[in-house]
Amino acid sequence: MDNQEQHMDKDFQQAFEDFNLDIQPQVWEEIREELHPRKEKKKTLWLWTSGIAAVLVIGLLLIPNSNEEFNQVLVDELEKDFNEDLKEEVNNSKDSIIPNKKTTKPIIKLKALIAEQIIILSDDITEEQQAAIIEFEQEAKEQLPVIADFEQQVIDQVLDVHPITILAANDVVQIIDSNTTFIEDSTTNQVALQDSIFAPKKKKPSLTVPLDIDFGKKRSKWLLAANLNSSTSNGGSDQLSDDQSVMATDASDEAATSDFTEEFSDVNKAASNITKSGKLVTAMSVGYKVQHNLYVNAGLAYTNQSFFVDGQSSLVSGIGVPVGLRFNLLDKNKKHIYISGGLMYELLLNAPLDINQSWNISSAIGGDLPVWNQWQAFIQIGALKEIITIVESPLSPLFQIGLRYQFEK
């Protein structure tokens, strides 16, 4: 070896003598796990995660296949409770209906108005109560600017309670907006309303869940109902039953000149036939390793879904904020196979009708692989259920792709 070669070798040796490079934190984590395995915790974690995943999957699978007969019985029972609670509320003293607390007042009043409307329909109201109702209405008019937001919130909730309650909710708005009296304005619609409200056997099967909400001093029982329509093919749908449509038409005929009827017709038309395709989600997220193989994910997503309204399709995009857990079933050479589950809040950018937001619950199986430094590309397929939305849907297929930045302690 000549001097020239020796010189070159020496230069390289010197250059690399103190050469250091940064290492990703997970290298030490994996060494530590190998040297000091946490067997007990691992086992417990497996059990927990498997249990949660199983419950999630079974729950999602069971909901759209609920027995219709069972649902109908449940609806009848809960609807009865609901009406009785509302009656009881109005039958209580005036003070209890209009509590002193300013914060709860508008909601209680609005509830009372809705309740009164139903009670009037059942011809089960005293003169004293009617006087109280008129007084409430007067106060509501005076406080219109204050309670406008509350009204909308409550009406939104009412829309979720039961499709037919739309009538009552819209009527309340109309009453407050107009200069006519409550009783006169709603008389025309009462027959249709009464038929609709007190004819539960004609409704589509629904899964209805009672929920206690504490409004100040009073506890009020509210119902959350999810319509379970199985008449559509791909994603999901919401539609009024034929019987309900007939009733709606009857109501329209009888009150052709009223604003209320127009509103109801619009609602009926809007909700007449909506179906949705599966959802494609493109996401950018951050994953944080909380325990061995268990990660918390959060991010930002762009969603795409086709809506079919009365046979006409439109592509609806949305921005979502997904949050969830991920458990690695397989971890080999920085590539993972995992199960995941979580929630996503979604804001629709070009929503059909007035439905512009929803919550999604999903469960999926997926895989990822490292692309650069701590970035991973992932792909996952699973099932998704929309909750807390007007257009209820059964399980939809979910296809998700994206990039994830992975970091840990």
Binding site: Q4, E5, D11, R32, K334, P370
Partner: protein
């Protein structure tokens, strides 16, 4: 904590001592692995495997010789195992011009170590491994031949061509 205390703690399987030792030597050993593998992820996997071997076999360290040298040997052996699994391709000797001499112009004091690393990465795998072992680690051709399962002649020819290519790259870099 001194190196001796760290080694003693690691022999007792103390996780804090292991973490400390890892923090002390792993970045440097990562620098070693990076010379053998152009893919950073692969280099990191080899480092992980090497450090695990170190902790599992630390009771075999008798305290003779440099501890860093002992770690380095474990890491390099792990890298060579991986390279053997990957089946390194060595260009045959007749393809190589053994008479080529290095230019007198080979100084690269002004080049950054990252540039040199890039040059090493751009070498064919066989050239790169032999150059690393011979020129930087100080292995003999006989040791390289045994480690890689090749002849001494192949080792020499790979080294010669590696030096030639590196020098070309250094000159080109300096002209830029």
């Amino acid at each position: 904590m001194t190196e001796a205390q760290l080694i003693s703690g690691c022999k007792q399987n103390n996780v804090l001592a292991q973490k400390e030792l890892y923090n002390l030597y792993a970045p440097k050993m990562m620098g070693v692995c990076a010379r053998y593998f152009a893919n950073r992820q692969e280099a990191q996997d080899v480092l992980q495997e090497g450090m695990l071997k170190l902790f599992k076999n630390i009771n075999n360290y008798a305290g003779k010789g440099s501890f860093e040298g002992w770690i380095r040997k474990i890491v390099i052996n792990t890298a060579l195992e991986q390279l053997r699994k990957n089946k390194i391709h060595f260009e045959s000797a007749d393809q190589i011009d053994l008479d080529s001499n290095l230019s007198k112009e080979n100084g690269f004091q002004n080049l950054k170590v990252q540039d040199l690393l890039k040059m090493i990465h751009s070498l064919p795998e066989g050239f790169r491994v032999v150059f690393n072992l011979f020129a930087i680690e100080g292995y003999s051709h006989k040791e390289i031949a045994i480690q890689l399962g090749i002849s001494e002649g192949t080792s020499k020819s790979q080294l010669s061509r590696a030096r030639r290519q590196l020098q070309d790259m250094i000159i080109k870099e300096k002209l830029l």
